[in-house]
Symmetry: C2
């Protein structure tokens, strides 16, 4: 009676959710199993090398998601201002107004962080590069564009921490609002 079950992408979505919520060490195989509805053996069928491979594939999955759902649509937007709007709306939705954690942060904090080094760096770089490109297109200097891009990611990540720590999600909302008006300012 069990047959189609879930696609690989759906499994990765559920794993992503669990890792974001409980962190890498905090997500046991038992929990990952419950979260996906798959037995441990099924998980090992998809991810022969176990939990570390799950996290790696989840990271790659999120990267693909961002590319198709954020970075690509961004290129179609008309103006730099529109692009910025689009990115901030997407981030606000993805982090649910500061209520959901960032996978990148969770993996940076894991003991196995060295294992995820390269993809983590890549994910941060891609993100900052996208913001930088918007700034450049808006006519900001190369140096300023880079600083604004770094600061953009810094503030999103920081706001997520402060919200989680204080249980006050207005900080995330205000950060998004501030970024909306300050990133492209001259």
């Amino acid at each position: 009676m069990p047959a189609p079950i879930l696609s690989k992408e759906e499994v990765l979505d559920l794993l992503l959710n669990t890792f974001r919520d409980r962190g890498y060490e905090g997500s046991s195989l038992a929990e990952l199993s419950t979260a996906t509805g798959l037995g441990k053996s099924s998980l090992y069928h998809y991810f022969p090398s176990g939990k570390a491979e799950m996290a790696e594939q989840v990271l790659a999955h999120m990267d693909r998601q961002l590319t198709t759902n954020l970075y690509e649509p961004l290129r179609l937007a008309q103006t730099p201002a529109k692009k910025l709007e689009l990115m901030l709306d997407a981030l606000d939705a993805f982090y649910e107004g500061g209520r959901k954690a960032c996978l990148l942060e969770r993996l940076c904090a894991s003991v196995d962080r060295t294992r995820f080094r390269r993809p983590l760096r890549q994910a941060f770089t891609t993100w900052m590069d996208a913001v930088e490109a918007i700034c450049l297109e808006a006519g900001l200097s190369s140096a300023v564009a880079r600083e604004r891009a770094e600061d953009f990611v810094v503030r999103i990540e920081g706001a997520l921490i402060v919200c989680a720590g204080t249980d006050d999600y207005s900080v995330f909302a205000r950060t998004i609002r501030d970024l909306r008006s300050s990133v492209l300012a001259r």
Copy 2:
């Protein structure tokens, strides 16, 4: 033959170090034992309720440290500008230029986070209140002072994440530099 060994404060310092480095779930009793040079039984002598109590006491310990080494000396500084300098220097040293993680962030990310809720919120609030006080003393309006204080903590926490994720510590240095000149600006 073993006798004085370590003071409670020294033990807490070593535990703080381990929790910052490996996170809450990532710090096993075996590691906490090696880090302190104390056997497990000795740790349970100091912390009868185990790891969660260690983290709680480490948090309280850090709070005391910050009070005596940062918040109190801050009150003696002459001008708001001097106070800001003092705090940024202390943070730069405490986080070793972005190379060492924040205990607050690590505990926010832990699965047991609800257990640390109150002290975490308290620690963040105390920190932001200190920055807010400096801003107010410098003549900024109440609303702006609060925003600047929240943004201050957001950017420090965010910079630590981005540095860990990209292995590029210049972001922390630049964040500190930016804060130095922007926090009290009118």
